[in-house]
Symmetry: C2
Subunit: 217 residues, 2 copies
């Protein structure tokens, strides 16, 4: 084993991690249908994934299915939720309460997945002092005065401020930045940056649809 692979030991591959919430959703459906056990073969079939891939993905949680029976639905739900960090509620701060930030404040689904936005930071005087869905919007300068310990920050500021605000976030103790801007943030290695550009996804969809049209003509 090389030093590099040793360093990455325990790092679950991103595609596996991304599939796990899908398995979780699938299992919750199975539970509602009063199913007690599901096999990796069934999960694979219904989700269009290879069965060995399902087994491998789930093995990262250290759960083991029973031969000929599969996984116990209730147990696998608990194990997955715990593994994914959806059980414990993490506090998060929102940076930028403009259009997309405002939108995220309306999404109570985040709570279910372990994230609770408790404050939002802005520079726009029209927004500061207001509340959206019970979350206070404060001036960004207030962030430095806030209690320490909040590790997750959601970045939804305009592109031109993304890098600068990300640096401020890190100085204030943020360890994980969920970056909704289309800007590639550059920071030290001890900060996790998760890029989620909705518009990048939109670009992919538009291109695939255009291609579909070309093929039809």
């Amino acid at each position: 084993m090389t030093t590099d692979s040793k360093k990455k030991e325990g790092l679950v591959p991103e595609p596996s991690l991304r599939r796990m919430p899908c398995y979780l959703a699938y299992l919750k459906l199975a539970k509602r249908q009063n199913k007690q056990y599901v096999s990796s073969t069934h999960i694979a079939r219904d989700m269009g994934v290879d069965p060995t891939q399902v087994t491998k993905d789930l093995s990262y949680t250290s759960i083991v299915g029973k031969t000929r029976v599969g996984y116990e639905v209730n147990v696998l739900i608990d194990v997955l939720e715990d593994f994914l960090g959806f059980c414990s509620l993490d506090e998060a701060y929102l940076f930028g309460a403009g259009s997309l930030g405002n939108a995220l404040l309306h999404d109570h689904g985040l709570d279910q997945y372990g994230l609770k936005i408790t404050a939002a930071f802005e520079v726009d005087p029209k927004l500061i002092g207001r509340e959206i869905e019970g979350v206070p919007i404060l001036h960004i300068d207030e962030f430095k005065k806030m209690k320490q310990g909040v590790k997750v920050g959601i970045l939804t500021v305009p592109a031109e401020f993304a890098q600068e605000v990300a640096q401020t976030m890190v100085e204030g103790g943020i360890k994980g930045i969920w970056n909704f801007t289309p800007i590639r943030i550059r920071l030290n290695d001890d900060v996790v940056i998760q890029d989620t550009s909705l518009y990048a996804h939109l670009a992919v969809m538009f291109n695939r649809m255009k291609n579909l049209n070309l093929n039809e003509v």
Copy 2:
């Protein structure tokens, strides 16, 4: 060229497509800083991408940079916006006006990227008949009576209804489904499905942060 590669001709690789909105954001910043030209070397350096990759990504738009000068900022912005389909405004219908659907209705950023939600469909009697941000919420049965021609549908219903509603969407003429549910939708090949599970991204971020903590201890 094999038949398969011929079939895929014109299909821009997804990683390239995903980077394009990032280039666009970068170029808009450059424009605001009154820059006339940018080179692929500069883009690469500032975005942490390989320079040959930048050149290759941009070549899909058929734009060619000038030696020693690079790309004209204004031209490249127009070319990219056009290529990505962000110039023309596409109408879209929203399916599910619950928490996440409601959130997306608050995101006016989508307009800028060429998507305008003009109606939302629901089954919840508490929501039907209301308006959110000027968009009417109608019963899902009304969808069938709506004018044809809207090709983009955004799917934000609860997981257990995802497959069923997706089928209804396709029957009503939807050709591209932006799927925000964690369910893998299974449909014919003539429909584009773009999966965007916010919670899958959250799972990746939580895992990476956990890993960071383990390494620190």
